[in-house]
């Protein structure tokens, strides 16, 4: 209990003292996870829409694959990305290992199936007559698809929020491909892991509390955005 209270106190101190190192870690966390979620949304929403709205051979297999990839262990993704980006790997020449870009790649691979899978679920809940109504009003196949995605916007937004939650809380892959380098690739989760390993529980707890508050604020803003739009 004392550790928790000390953690709370330190969290407030870290934020109010304008500790530059803390702010840099927070900023990098948001930057990496934000970019990964943006890329994952750009890939996952169209992929989910395609799988959900089109009939093609192998559709079911693709759906099972997406569902399987939704639960991929981050360390496996970290390992694969590491192997690709390491000096001896096929993308070694890009020299991306232990950079924020490598962390973005790993998180994008982690989050894309989550957004795609939840988009499929959201679109399957849309009234089937919506597509017919849109087509009868003169919509082409792209416009019909876009109309259905818009109808499922709350579900799609929930997919994005879930993706962000997964990305910001992720530690396994970013520590492998980012290396937790101070001032360069240290994010909140890797910092928490480090502080815990060093026995600085109150600092680790403080960072954890900041992470929770940040996630809460982002979710709250997205929720209000949809509520305002829905009014």
């Amino acid at each position: 209990m004392q550790d928790i209270l000390a953690g709370l106190k330190e969290a407030v101190q870290l934020l109010t003292n304008l500790d530059s190192q803390t702010y840099q870690i927070i900023f990098l966390s948001l930057q990496v996870s934000g970019m990964a979620v943006l890329l994952s949304s750009l890939l996952g929403i169209p992929l989910g829409a395609f799988i959900s709205l089109r009939n093609f051979p192998g559709k079911k297999i693709l759906m099972h694959l997406v569902n399987t990839f939704m639960g991929l262990p981050p360390v496996v993704i970290g390992l694969v990305v590491y192997l690709f980006l390491s000096n001896s790997g096929p993308l070694g020449e890009l020299e991306l290992l232990f950079t924020p870009q490598a962390m973005i790649i790993a998180q994008t691979i982690l989050v894309t199936p989550i957004i795609a899978g939840l988009t499929i679920a959201a679109l399957s809940g849309v009234n089937k007559n919506i597509a017919l109504a849109a087509a009868s009003l003169g919509a082409n196949s792209w416009q019909v698809a876009w109309t259905i995605v818009k109808e499922a916007r709350y579900g799609v937004l929930a997919a994005i929020i879930s993706g962000f939650g997964r990305a910001i809380a992720e530690v396994g892959s970013v520590i492998m491909v980012g290396g937790d380098i101070e001032g360069s690739t240290r994010v909140m989760t890797t910092a928490i892991a480090l502080q815990t390993r060093m026995g600085n529980f109150s600092t680790a707890l403080a960072l954890g509390l900041i992470l929770i508050v940040l996630s809460f604020l982002i979710n709250l803003s997205l929720y209000h955005l949809t509520q305002r739009e829905g009014r």
Binding site: N127, N129, I130, L132, A133, A134, A135, S136, L137, G138, A139, N140, S141, Q143, T147, K150, E151, G230, R231
Partner: protein, 241 residues
């Protein structure tokens, strides 16, 4: 407006439509009646070019409708359909009605004017900002009709549009259909289970039975002196199906 030759439509193994010949002239209101499951809605979807038949030719405005999607879309944009279940988009009434105009690239004040005028015609002034999903069934169906009417279609296809609506909403919708036909020369093809509605609205009525057009005549003659015994049995409520 339409000419259909040798049309056949199957769902899996079952033949749902088998029409040798059907001609629907421009500027008329056609009523289609028949028991449930005889292919009435399928015929409407084919006329709306939302579905393709396995066999047969469809001529629209004298042109043979082919498989070219661009061409089909161009034809489809001159017609529209209102379904039995009021299906509104999860947005405002204004956005619902402006939908078809927006996807045709229309924007700005012109759209606002068209939407306002259409709402006025359907006695729905001031509904613009209401959320469509909060409307009653009758109001939602009027929005669906407004959404179709605002496009100024050459053909309006109605699939039992007033089923389960109260008399006021039925009256409003029928009034609008008559207005469109009279003032805009819109061809209306209406599937209905309500024979009185067919009598009130249609210039010509046809009876569809097991995917075939059994009889098609001027509405007055159709109801007064049906020629086919199946039509007669259906109108007298004696048909067992």
């Amino acid at each position: 407006m339409y000419e259909i030759k040798g049309l056949q439509k199957d769902y899996e193994e079952k033949r749902v439509l088998d029409i040798n010949y059907l001609r629907l002239e421009k500027g008329k209101i056609f009523g289609i009646i028949g028991p449930s499951g005889v292919g009435k809605s399928t015929l409407l979807r084919i006329l709306n070019l939302l579905e393709k038949p396995q066999q047969g030719e469809i001529y629209y405005q004298g042109n043979l409708v082919g498989d070219n999607e661009k061409e089909r879309l161009a034809y489809r944009r001159s017609m529209t359909m209102v379904f039995q279940q009021p299906t509104v988009f999860n947005t405002t009434v204004y956005e619902n009605i402006a939908y078809g105009l927006h996807i045709r690239g229309e924007r700005g004040k012109k759209v606002q004017e068209k939407v306002s005028k259409t709402l006025e015609l359907l006695d729905m002034d001031g509904y613009e900002k209401r959320q469509a999903l909060t409307l009653s069934g009758g109001e939602a169906q009027r929005v669906c009709l407004a959404r179709a009417v605002v496009l100024d279609p050459q053909v309006l296809l109605l699939d039992e549009p007033t089923a389960s609506l109260d008399p006021y909403n039925v009256g409003m919708i029928e009034k609008m259909v008559r207005y469109l036909n009279k003032e805009k020369d819109t061809t209306v093809i209406c599937v209905t289970h309500n024979m009185f509605q067919a009598k009130r609205l249609a210039h010509e009525t046809m009876f569809l039975w097991e995917g075939k057009i059994v009889e098609k005549r001027a509405t007055e003659d159709f109801f007064a002196q049906p020629l086919d015994p199946r039509t007669k049995a259906f109108l007298e409520g004696k048909m067992i199906y």
